[in-house]
Amino acid sequence: MKYKVISIYMTGMLLFTCLESIIAQITNDSYRVETIKMPDGLTSETGAVEFLPDGRLVASFTRGEVMIYNTLTREWKLFAEGLHDPLGILVISNSELLIMQRPELTRVKDTDGDGTADLYEKVTDDFGLSGNYHEFNYGPVKDKDGNLFIALNSSSGGGNIRSEVRGQINPLGRESGSKGQMFSNLPYRGWMMKLGKDGKLQPFASGFRSPNGIGFDLEGNLFATDNQGDWVGTSPLHHVQEGKFYGHPGSLVWQKGWNRGNPFLLPIPVLDSMRTRGAVLFPHGIIANSPTQPVCDNTAGKFGPFSGQLIIGEMNKERIVRVMLERVGGELQGACIPFLEGNGLRKGNNRLVFAPDGSLWIGQNSHGWLGDQGIQRIIFTGKTPADIYSMNLTEKGFDLTFTEPLEVSAATNSENFKFRHYYYKYQSKYGSDQFDIQNVPVTDIKISNDRKKVSLTLATLKSGYVYELNLGDIKTSTGNSLNNKLICYTLNKLKSSSIN
């Protein structure tokens, strides 16, 4: 029940943040949040956090600085400067980084060993750039074969393209008439791109609106989050596969051989049939409004019991989200649950990385949106969190596996498992309401012999819905309350012989 905020900067914004944290949090004694002291004079809107092979942290910031933090001496040192919105770093060595900035992916290297970079070499700039404020670029991340992946934000309908752009303009990548939808007038805005070892940047997957966060799981699956808005009813986590289209139309004009005119004018059912749905939906206002980077817990237990699962940042709340996935009908789908809420954590959780010691470092950002600044660190205290470990679809309902054995009477009382389902519409309109909100009764409950797994039978199961589960006062056999009582499963596909 103890936690300590090591230091809090009481900036105007943060003062309010703290007030809010006090209201809605459950104290979590399995994880502790520490705040890293940032250098004086730094506007620490954090675009990337990574670790060097020697154990130091490297971070990039909005005003173009790249700084290195020695976690032992707690000293910051400037490594590079002058970059344009650096939003991603891939570490090559202690003296060499690949940094994604607005105009290009850049190799930033200290060649003379003085500790600061002196070489800024283009790795690729083979994509369009209009000067529109929303053309953020994300990544790079590297697959097991050494290919790099970067994601290119669509351009904002709240802005325009400049008179001088880089790349060939295709006017069909923007809807005409009404204002506001994001667009793709220049090559590969709204795409995930693959940079092969031959140095050629190739289109990989399309349909992204604002994919502020890409990453791999331990099996090598590539993921990207996207942000709620036009054509994105609620923010998703996409399992990104080559050649697939993830829903935002503008980018389709850059698909090889595209001959169907302005994709915004295609009937929605046509676009809907082309798209791949999110593997996991984060219900807006419930789980996350602006999810960020997915990182896979590769700490083999150093960060607690969730090894192999994805941890994802959230901009708009003092929250980190956890995602558990499974394959159903050949595709990944699964559930999302708050991982850590409040406890000193700030908003704006933009970039995440696991340190060599298994702690999770978080770079915070706002950049004109809701968020915060600075870097924090989450440390596992060693006490197993009382939580849902996994949620798996069965033919009749869901299996919930917990991190610890449960006290049986509450865990077998259907009153403590309140399901409702709803779906989000695929539409040009900004976001989506929840449709067909209905409570779904639990008709049968079984608990396993080890009291860790509860099997729930639901009255109905439908594909295309989010199943939101609110848990009642369930306790572990040692009397601990659960850290999280809300979990949302995205049911894209039913198990083969599910009831309907």
Partner: protein, 373 residues
Amino acid sequence: MLALLSIVQLYAQNNTDTVRTIKIDVLVGLQFDLVRFNVRPGEKLNLIFSNSDDMSHNLLITKPGTRLEVVNEALKLGQKGPEMDYIPNSLSVLWSIPVVNPNQFRTLSFTAPKQEGVYPYVCTIPGHGFIMFGAMYVNADGRMPELKDDPNIPPNRKAEDNTMLSNQHSNHPLNGEPQPVKIKPLHPYTPVSPYIYRVFIYGASPAAIAVSLPGDLSYCWDAGTCKLRFAWSGGFLDNSELWKGKGDVSAKVVGNVFFRDKTQFPFSFSADNKVPKLDYKGYKLINRYPEFHYTLNGIDVYELILPKADGKGLNRTFRIPNVKSTVWFNTDQSDGVKYEALKGSWEGNRLKLTSKEARRFSIIMSVKEGGIL
């Protein structure tokens, strides 16, 4: 007659059938553009809430002193929040405008309370309510405290001036007088020229590189077009708008532009001035000065730009180590500078260099008298 008219007008203004329209929009950074306004008790009002932000917002008007209570009740809606537009069932909520998505608007018609007081309005979307609010002053005499002393508006709106100072050369006196003002640093270090910002800037492609040189000289070299685009003196950049991140904005040039490239391309490898195929490669810092590297028709070119010895222009040193053909360096009379070169021969506005000369040569660009573009 005149007096009569004024009386009629006065009555018209006080006529409660007249509906006054109040417009509220959203600014970047979770703010209403209008943070307070005054209405008369019982006045009929039409509130238009438009949202030019790229997040969704709602607007609730609450009873005096209940803003935080309502914000917290909205938070407690939890997963019911979205379907209720984050509007709690509370007696403290007097009127509400449901969630307005980006680029949409909604209107609310209501009659101001008879009871004088300060009625807060607030966006109750989780996270917004603690900073995104304003105050409706209901009273007959139109009184409101001084903006700076108003406890009912967000603290950052009490002073309307922008606190983000943007003069890059903070150690330089402005208007000839030392400025004792306390300046918020732009970086965790004091930038020392030469230094670079990659920025969006007018007069270049979006892949621009701006460089500050010693002596208050600056230039913009464009990685999108592989050439020096323009140069200026008297300051560097104001990035304050650019760094806010939201909205189509650019870095602003501080000082006077004395050179602007007017050529199709500065180099050609044939007499017909054909623009070679360009490929930007990067830059290496030499004593902190960037030496740009690019290829023209596959031939490596290196370009290092230093201040001219007298500080009144630029000294550009090019290396084209592997060139096998004649090289033309093109200029334009109207670009603002005079040219000198120690190698090659001028043919009108073009400098012709043999392949041997082109391996390494310098071009000196001097500001023309009165040369401000």
